[in-house]
């Protein structure tokens, strides 16, 4: 009897201690690789070695002075912008078709469009590489081109945009769309003048998520790029395999900062829209 009583009074304390311990663990677990990288990027030494003795911005200077690395960064940005455009355009249009129309094989097509999202990057990269390896369009080798990487990245980005936009389109009032047509706007004009502004937050999020996915991805890019078109993550991967230097940390920080900048933009746009439309 008293044993049970002790147990009952002890249990909440044990529970609280466990909760605290777990919180500390999870915060540490998630932050360790991020903080280590951030700290290392300000290291002055050539080697990755703790403790850090001298702090400097040397490796940032080094990064931007190296044509190889800046070019990789440029490639990454080009490919990410291309992916964002391709994935957003195709994903938004397809989502609108699913929301607005009824057509045969709808659920099958849904699965088909979503499927690539669940496929490992190795498989997608390999598939595109062997299928388009020798293909030339207008004398330009498709393999190794930035365009092919953009499309390969869209295989992940487009289903994500599609999913996001399907949910977004579902929130708009169909009568507003009808009102636009009723007042004389043809379907295309209705789409651009009425529908798109109503889902602008979804579109901006789609563009930036697609951008981020492409920016971070490196397995498909590894299979599909050559020396001239390799992206920053690919270059990081290759130099990690040879020897890691704080330059890699700088590259990581630059990638992460770009991503968080995108996230901030989404937030700002969201707040702006919230002020304007929903009260």
């Amino acid at each position: 009897m008293s044993d049970a009583l002790i147990r009952r009074s002890l249990e909440p304390t044990i529970f609280r201690v466990l909760t605290l311990a777990f919180s500390v663990f999870i915060v540490a677990y998630i932050l360790i690789p991020i903080l280590v990288t951030l700290v290392m990027s300000f290291n002055d030494a050539t080697q990755i070695r703790f403790p850090i003795k001298v702090w400097s911005l040397k490796w940032y200077g080094d990064f931007f002075a190296s044509p190889q690395w800046t070019e990789a960064l440029f490639n990454s940005f080009t490919i990410a912008i291309g992916t964002a455009l391709i994935a957003t355009t195709s994903g938004v249009l397809a989502a609108w078709a699913f929301e607005r129309y009824d057509f045969p094989l709808k659920s099958l097509l849904y699965v088909l469009i979503m499927m690539p999202l669940f496929m490992p990057g190795v498989v997608l990269g390999l598939g595109v590489a062997i299928a388009f390896g020798g293909v030339e369009i207008a004398g330009v080798d498709l393999y190794g081109s930035r365009g092919l990487v953009m499309i390969a990245h869209s295989l992940w980005a487009m289903p994500l945009v599609f999913m996001l936009m399907e949910a977004t389109f579902r929130t708009i009032d169909n009568r507003v769309v009808e009102a636009a047509q009723d007042l004389g706007a043809p379907p295309v004009r209705t789409f651009f003048e009425v529908v798109i502004p109503m889902v602008s937050t979804g579109i901006i999020s789609s563009v930036l998520f697609a951008f981020v996915i492409s920016l971070n991805e490196f397995v498909m890019a590894l299979f599909l790029t050559d020396r001239d078109t390799q992206t920053l993550p690919v270059l990081m991967w290759l130099s990690l395999r040879s020897a890691g230097t704080p330059r890699l940390a700088v590259a990581s920080v630059i990638l992460a900062c770009t991503v968080f900048l995108c996230l901030t933009l989404i937030m700002l746009w969201y707040i702006r829209q919230l002020r304007k439309v929903a009260r």
Binding site: E178, Q181, D182, L183, G184, M198, V277
Partner: protein, 339 residues
């Protein structure tokens, strides 16, 4: 004879096994305000959506100003709809909302500005041009929707239960405003509603719909006083029903002309006289008081005669306690008999 603003000829729409619109024919003259009145599922909204072009017909034809339009998509039809929720463009200001239809019709910039101002003044929202819909009240939104539709000066305005989402006082106010706008601007309109009060108050003519077909179409007064069917009679106003059966007459009922066979006899509660007033009338009935409701200007007496539940409205004081027996009386002209 002048061409009607809108003409529907045996319009038909079928959804699987359900005939939503069943050979509806209807003409709206220029400047006429026609209401489609009916319970939900009667096909009134389906009819309106066919006219607006949001749905395709399965048979018949629709003409605006004498020209067939049923083969045209919504954006090529000279109609403008006022939706239940207003359906304003949330990301456009009030002025941009009103200007939208004009821009689509390629009206010149300066004329757009003039017309936007003109119609916002008409709906008394002159100072609200730069607001967003989210900053407006429900009634204001509906007035913007009205201005937006009026501004394009369509051949016909389509109202899709525009007031049903508003509360009662606002509904009454806006309904009066729409009526005075119609008197002032003389637009042609079809107005869909399930509220007979709205239909009676605003319309040039009312079409009562049931099961996808028009049951009766006439002026509000004629509909009210001379309903074509039992359905129309019971739908457009309150009524009391007595089932009369000569064989087993359990009612203490006196009629001017006796009825033969089975029949249903209807009287409006406002036309029933109670107590001493009833004695001089040609038709009389004895009933028992169940309870009394105080309605303000009048009292409503809930009564029982045989197995029929009745109610009668009476102004003035009367000391009738529940359980008391009372005389009811009415004029033959106020009575309607359906078999």
């Amino acid at each position: 004879m002048t061409t009607p603003a809108l003409h529907l000829d045996r319009v038909r729409r079928v959804y699987g096994p359900v005939v939503a619109v069943d050979d509806v024919s209807l003409s709206v003259a220029k400047g006429e305000f026609v209401t489609l009145l009916g319970p939900s599922g009667s096909g009134k909204t389906s009819t309106l959506r066919l006219v607006g072009g949001f749905d395709q017909l399965d048979g018949g034809s629709i003409a605006i100003n004498g020209e067939r339009i049923d083969h045209l998509p919504a954006y090529q039809r000279d109609t403008a709809t006022i939706f239940q929720s207003g359906a304003l463009f949330p990301h456009k200001t009030v002025a941009e909302n009103v200007a939208f239809g004009l821009r689509m019709r390629k009206v010149g910039t300066s004329e757009i500005a003039d017309r936007v101002r003109q119609y916002l003044d008409i709906v008394r929202l002159g100072g609200f041009a730069d607001r967003y819909p989210a900053q407006l009240s429900g009634g204001q939104k509906q007035r913007v929707a009205l201005a937006r539709s009026l501004a394009v000066r369509p051949a016909i305005l389509l109202f899709d239960e525009p007031l049903s989402a508003l509360d009662l006082s606002l509904r009454l106010q806006l309904r009066a405003e729409i009526k005075s706008l119609h008197d002032q601007l003389k637009f042609s309109a079809i107005y869909v509603t399930h509220d007979q009060g709205e239909a009676m108050a605003m319309s040039s003519r009312v079409a009562v719909m049931r099961n996808g077909a028009i049951e009766q179409i006439d002026t509000p007064t004629r509909i009210f006083h001379d309903p074509a069917s039992e359905f129309v009679y019971t739908f457009i106003g309150e009524s009391c029903c007595l089932r009369v059966n000569n064989a087993a007459q359990s009612l203490d009922l006196t009629l001017e002309t006796p009825l033969l066979g089975e029949a249903r006899l209807y009287v409006r509660p406002s036309r029933l006289r109670l107590g001493p007033d009833a004695a001089s009338l040609p038709n009389r009935l004895k009933a028992r008081v169940k309870f009394v409701e105080f309605l303000g200007d009048t009292n409503r007496y809930h009564l029982q005669a045989g197995d029929a539940d009745l109610f009668a409205d009476h102004a003035g004081e009367m000391s009738l306690a529940p359980g008391a027996t009372v005389d009811l009386g009415w004029l033959t002209a106020d009575m309607r008999v359906f078999r």
